[in-house]
C-alpha cells in the first residue's frame, strides 16, 4: 500500500529517537520535503519549527515571511517581519492546514478545525477523516489516518505519536509531503512571537477598491 515504506520507517525512528530525548513537549525543527510518486523532489523544501504549542513554517513561495500555526485552535497567520504586518493565512498555503499540532489521538478534529479556520467547508459532506487500524507490520510510532477534505485529493497521513505532527502525507496521486531531517533542539521563543506593533491586514480592502475600476466587469 505504501511506497517508500522504508523511508517512512526511518522518519519515524528519527522522530522517536528525537522525542525520547526531548522534554515533555518536543521542540524541534525539520525540513518539509515535496516529492513526486517516483521520489524526486518537486520544489524547494520548506522548514518547520515547533515549540510552545506553535508551529512556524517558512516556504520558498513566501520567502519574506512565515506562517504561524496556533496548535490550540488550529488557526494560521502569515507574518512578514520586515513590513511589520500580519494577515490571516486562510488558504494561502496548504501546509498550514496539515502541519497542525494534532495531539496523539485528536488529529481529525484539529485538521477539521484548521480547514474551518481557513475558510474551507469542513462539514459532513466535505470532510472525511478516520484513523486506520495499525497493520502488524506498521511501526507503532505513528498513527495512520485517511483524510478527504474539500478541494484536495484524498490522502493518508502518518502522525508521530511523540511529535504530534504528521511525518508523512501521501496523496492519492502518489505525491508525498514528508517531514525529514528532524532536529531535536530548543527553539528560540522569538520565532513564535508576533510583535505587538504589527498591523492586522485584510485583503477585502483591495477588492473593494478594485470594484470602483474598469477591471471589475461583473455585469
Amino acid at each position: 500500500m505504501l511506497t517508500g515504506r522504508s523511508t517512512l520507517l526511518c522518519l519515524v525512528l528519527m522522530a522517536i529517537g528525537a522525542a525520547a530525548a526531548a522534554a515533555e513537549e518536543a521542540q524541534y525543527s525539520a525540513d518539509i520535503v515535496f516529492r513526486d510518486p517516483s521520489g524526486v523532489e518537486t520544489q524547494p523544501h520548506a522548514t518547520l519549527h515547533a515549540a510552545h504549542g506553535k508551529i512556524r513554517i517558512e516556504t520558498a513561495e513566501a520567502a519574506d515571511g512565515y506562517f504561524l500555526i496556533d496548535g490550540e485552535v488550529s488557526s494560521a497567520i502569515f507574518v512578514r517581519p520586515s513590513l511589520r504586518s500580519v494577515m490571516d493565512a486562510k488558504q494561502s498555503s496548504r501546509l498550514t492546514r496539515v502541519f497542525v499540532s494534532t495531539g496523539a489521538a485528536d488529529a481529525c478534529r484539529r485538521w477539521q478545525s484548521a480547514e474551518v479556520n481557513a475558510g474551507l467547508p469542513a462539514g459532513a459532506a466535505q470532510w472525511r477523516c478516520e484513523q486506520l487500524e495499525s497493520l502488524p507490520t506498521q511501526d507503532v510510532g505513528t498513527i495512520e489516518y485517511r483524510v478527504q477534505s474539500a478541494g484536495q485529493l484524498p490522502s493518508e497521513r502518518w502522525v508521530s505519536r511523540d511529535l504530534n505532527v504528521p511525518v508523512k502525507i501521501q496523496s492519492s496521486d502518489g505525491t508525498t509531503i514528508s517531514l525529514e531531517r528532524i532536529r531535536l533542539e530548543a527553539q528560540p521563543p522569538e520565532l513564535f512571537i508576533v510583535p505587538p506593533d504589527y498591523r492586522k491586514l485584510d485583503p477585502r480592502a483591495v477588492l473593494e477598491r478594485i470594484k470602483h475600476s474598469d477591471v471589475w466587469a461583473e455585469h
Binding site: G65, F78, D88, A205, R209, S213, A217, H219
Partner: protein, 682 residues
C-alpha cells in the same frame, strides 16, 4: 508634497548609469558579449524600419485635452491643437478668449435615441447651472478600504503583491491623494466648484493636483456617441463630420436619471467631471510632459471605439469588434438581458431603457442603430458601418469567456461573460510569421493562482470571473491582488486561438514581472503589450495619473538599463480611451463603433525625438498598422480596420484626412535616417 520636482527626484532613475557599466553587468548576468551584442533572434527578423522591438503601454481613461490641453510643444516650429492653442483657456488654466467654443448644452426630451441633437432643442448651461465636479467614487480618506493607503498599508501591498507593479516608485504615491470629502459630493478641491462657468476647468488648486484621486464618470458606447453630438447639419470645412462634443455633462446627468418619477434620484454621480483637465505647463502630469518634450506626441490620435475599456482593447488587438457567438465562431443572439436599448424611457429626459452591452447594428429596426447608421451614411465619404448580419457586437465591458488560467466558462450567458471569440488577433498573425510577441498584464500571475482556486472551488463554472476571482482572493490573501489584473484589457484573453490553447497561453500571456525580466535578459519579444494592474493604470477614482506615470517610468528605467535594446526599441505610450473626458479635437467616424475622442500617443525611440507633434489621423488600429508594416504582415481580415489607407493630410486642414476614412500607420512619427540617443527622463 506637491513640489514640481517630486517625481523625478523620488523616482531616481537608472539613466545616469553609463552604458559601459550596464554592458558589463548584463554580460555578467545573461552571458552576452562584452560589447553588448547578443544573439537576440528578434534582431534577425527583417523589418521595414530599424525598429526591432515594439512595446505598447496602455493606461486608462485620459484624453488629449485632459492631459495635454495646456501644453506648448518643445520642438522648434511645432504646433498643437489643444484648448490652449485654440484660446479656450489661458496658460494658467483659466477661461480664455474663446472659452465659449467649449460650451456644453442641455437637450429637451426627444422621443428616441439620437447622436445629433436638433439645434432648436439645445440650450447652453448658464454659469453655475452646468453639472459641477463630483467626488464620484474617489476615496474620501486614507483607509484600509483601498488606495490611497495609509503609509503602513504599504506593508500590506508588498505582502499581497510580490510583483514589481509595486515598488519604490509607486508606494509613496499610493499613500496620497485622498479627497477628504464625502463620497459623491461636490468636489470643492476644484477652485470655484459649485459656480464653475460653462466649459472646461483645471484640476489644480491648493488641495488638488495630479497626485489626487478625482471622481470618475460613465464611459459607455451609446453615451459616448450621444456626447459627441454628431450631425452633418453642424459640418464645416475644418470639422466636416459635424461632431460638436457639446453634450458631455448633459448625457452623464440624464442617461440614468429617473426624473419623471423620482427627480432627485440619480443613478450616477459623474456630473461635471468630464470637463476637468490638467495643466502640463504647470507641472501636472510632468513625466508625460517631459516625454513629450523629448520625443514625439500625436495630437490627432483617437480611441478606436466609442465608450469603454473592453471594446477599445479588443479593437487594439484585432482591428475589429467582438461579437456574441456559440463559442465555436458562429454568431447567435445573446440573452435578452444583454441587448442594449438606449431609447429614452417615456416621461424622462434621456434615461436609457436598457443600458446593456451588446447590439446588432446590422438591424436598423433595433433601438439605437438607425441614428448612428443614418449619420454614417450621410457623411460625404460614406464609411461602412461594418456590421455583419446577425452579429451582436460587444460595445461595453464584458469579461472574456476564458479565465486568466485558460479555464473556459461553461455558461457565459448566465455568467455575464462573452463566449470565446473567433476574431483573428494580431497575435495570430505574428504567430504565423514566427514573430515573437507577448501581452504583459499587471498581477496576471496572481490572477492565475486565483483562477486555479476558483476552478477548484467550482465558482469558475457558475459565477462571473470577476466575482469568482474576488471570492478566491478572500481565501488566498497572499495572491489577492490577482483581482487587480484587468481581464477585459487583454484582447487575447477573448480569443480561442490564444487563450484556449495552453501552449499559446503560456508563451504569450504574462505578467509585468516578465516584461521587466525580458528587458533585462535581452529576451524581449518583437511585439509587447504592457498593461498595469487596476491600482496603477491611472483610471480616475480607482487610480491616479501619476501612478500610471510611475508604471511607465518603471518600464523605461528597465529599458534605460539596456542601451542596446533601447536603441532598436520603440515605446508607444497611449490610453484605452478618454474615459468620458471632454475633448475639443476633430473626430473621424470610420464605422459604427468609432472613432471616439482624442487620446494622447507618445512615441519614444531614438528615431522620434525632438519634441515633435504629429497631426496625422490615427487610432488604436494605427498601432496594428505599424506592426504590420514593420514586420511585413497583411491586414488581419478582410473587414478589420487595418485595411484602411494611410491618411492624406492636407496643409489647409491639418487634422482632416483628405481621403477619409483613413488611419495612419505612424511611420511618419519617425525619422529613421537620424537616430538620437538620449535618456527617456532625467
Amino acid at each position: 508634497m506637491r513640489n514640481t520636482d517630486r517625481k523625478h527626484s523620488r523616482w531616481g532613475l537608472g539613466a545616469a548609469l553609463t552604458s559601459a557599466t550596464l554592458s558589463f553587468s548584463l554580460a555578467a548576468t545573461v552571458g552576452v558579449a562584452a560589447d553588448g551584442s547578443n544573439n537576440d533572434p528578434v534582431r534577425a527578423l527583417k523589418t521595414e524600419s530599424p525598429i526591432k522591438h515594439v512595446i505598447i503601454l496602455i493606461g486608462e481613461n485620459r484624453g488629449t485635452d485632459h492631459t495635454f490641453g495646456v501644453y506648448k510643444p518643445k520642438g522648434k516650429g511645432q504646433t498643437i491643437s489643444n484648448i490652449l492653442s485654440n484660446g479656450i483657456v489661458k496658460e494658467d488654466g483659466s477661461p480664455g478668449a474663446n472659452f465659449a467654443k467649449a460650451r456644453q448644452f442641455m437637450v429637451t426630451p426627444q422621443p428616441l435615441y439620437y447622436v445629433g441633437a436638433p439645434d432648436k432643442a439645445k440650450t447652453a448651461y448658464a454659469k453655475g447651472g452646468q453639472p459641477q465636479p463630483n467626488t464620484n467614487g474617489a476615496p474620501p480618506a486614507q483607509s484600509m478600504s483601498g488606495a490611497p493607503f495609509p503609509p503602513d498599508f504599504l506593508a500590506e501591498l508588498a505582502v499581497l503583491d510580490p510583483s514589481p507593479d509595486f515598488n519604490a516608485n509607486t508606494d509613496t504615491i499610493l499613500t496620497t491623494g485622498t479627497t477628504m470629502l464625502p463620497p459623491n459630493s461636490l468636489d470643492t478641491r476644484v477652485p470655484g466648484a459649485g459656480m464653475l462657468p460653462n466649459g472646461p476647468f483645471v484640476l489644480q488648486g491648493a488641495n488638488l493636483s495630479d497626485d489626487d484621486y478625482t471622481g470618475d464618470m460613465t464611459h459607455r458606447f451609446y453615451q459616448a456617441w450621444q456626447q459627441s453630438d454628431c450631425s452633418l447639419a453642424n459640418a464645416t470645412k475644418a470639422n466636416p463630420t459635424g461632431c460638436l462634443n457639446d453634450l458631455f455633462p448633459f448625457v452623464m446627468a440624464t442617461y440614468d436619471l429617473n426624473d419623471a418619477k423620482t427627480p432627485a434620484v440619480q443613478g450616477n454621480f459623474s456630473e461635471g467631471n468630464e470637463m476637468g483637465f490638467y495643466d502640463a505647463e504647470q507641472e501636472q502630469a510632468s513625466t508625460l510632459k517631459t516625454l513629450a518634450d523629448r520625443f514625439s506626441l500625436s495630437d490627432n490620435f483617437h480611441q478606436s471605439f466609442q465608450g469603454g475599456t473592453g471594446a477599445n482593447h479588443f479593437m487594439l488587438g484585432t482591428g475589429d469588434a467582438g461579437f456574441w457567438s456559440d463559442g465555436n465562431g458562429n454568431p447567435i443572439v445573446p440573452p435578452a438581458g444583454q441587448i442594449a436599448n438606449p431609447n429614452p424611457v417615456a416621461g424622462t429626459t434621456n434615461k436609457y431603457t436598457a443600458d446593456n452591452n451588446f447590439t446588432n447594428c446590422s438591424d436598423f429596426t433595433q433601438p439605437g442603430i438607425a441614428p448612428i447608421v443614418s449619420y454614417l451614411e450621410a457623411l460625404p465619404y460614406r464609411p461602412e458601418p461594418n456590421c455583419a448580419e446577425g452579429h451582436y457586437y460587444m460595445v461595453d465591458n464584458t469579461n472574456p469567456g476564458f479565465l486568466p488560467n485558460g479555464f473556459r466558462a461553461p455558461s457565459p450567458a448566465t455568467q455575464n461573460m462573452i463566449p470565446p471569440s473567433p476574431v483573428r488577433t494580431i497575435g495570430d498573425a505574428l504567430n504565423e510569421k514566427n514573430i515573437s510577441w507577448a501581452y504583459f498584464g499587471g498581477s496576471y500571475n496572481d490572477a492565475v493562482v486565483l483562477s486555479n482556486a476558483a476552478v477548484a472551488a467550482g465558482t469558475a463554472a457558475t459565477l462571473n470571473s470577476s466575482t469568482a476571482l474576488g471570492e478566491a482572493a478572500l481565501a488566498d490573501p497572499a495572491h489577492s491582488l490577482g483581482v487587480a489584473y484587468c481581464q477585459i484589457c487583454n484582447p487575447f484573453q477573448y480569443a480561442t486561438s490564444i487563450m484556449g490553447n495552453p501552449a499559446q497561453r503560456a508563451a504569450h500571456i504574462k505578467d509585468t514581472v516578465d516584461l521587466l525580466a525580458d528587458i533585462k535578459a535581452n529576451t524581449l519579444p518583437a511585439v509587447s503589450f504592457g498593461k498595469p494592474d487596476g491600482l496603477l493604470d491611472g483610471h480616475p477614482s480607482s487610480s491616479k495619473i501619476d501612478l500610471f506615470e510611475a508604471y511607465v517610468q518603471q518600464v523605461l528605467d528597465a529599458l534605460e538599463a539596456n542601451p542596446k535594446l533601447k536603441a532598436d526599441t520603440a515605446v508607444f505610450v497611449t490610453w484605452d480611451e478618454a474615459g468620458g473626458y471632454w475633448d475639443s479635437g476633430f473626430i473621424q467616424p470610420v464605422d459604427f463603433f468609432g472613432d471616439g475622442p482624442r487620446i494622447p500617443l507618445l512615441v519614444l525611440s531614438a528615431y522620434s525625438t525632438g519634441g515633435k507633434v504629429n497631426h496625422s489621423y490615427g487610432d488604436h488600429v494605427s498601432l496594428l498598422k505599424f506592426i504590420e508594416r514593420n514586420w511585413k504582415l497583411s491586414p488581419l481580415t478582410d473587414r478589420s480596420r487595418d485595411n484602411l489607407p494611410n491618411p492624406k493630410m492636407r496643409g489647409d486642414q491639418p487634422y482632416v484626412p483628405g481621403n477619409m476614412p483613413a488611419l495612419s500607420d505612424l511611420f511618419d512619427m519617425f525619422d529613421f535616417d537620424h537616430a538620437v540617443t538620449q535618456p527617456f527622463l532625467e
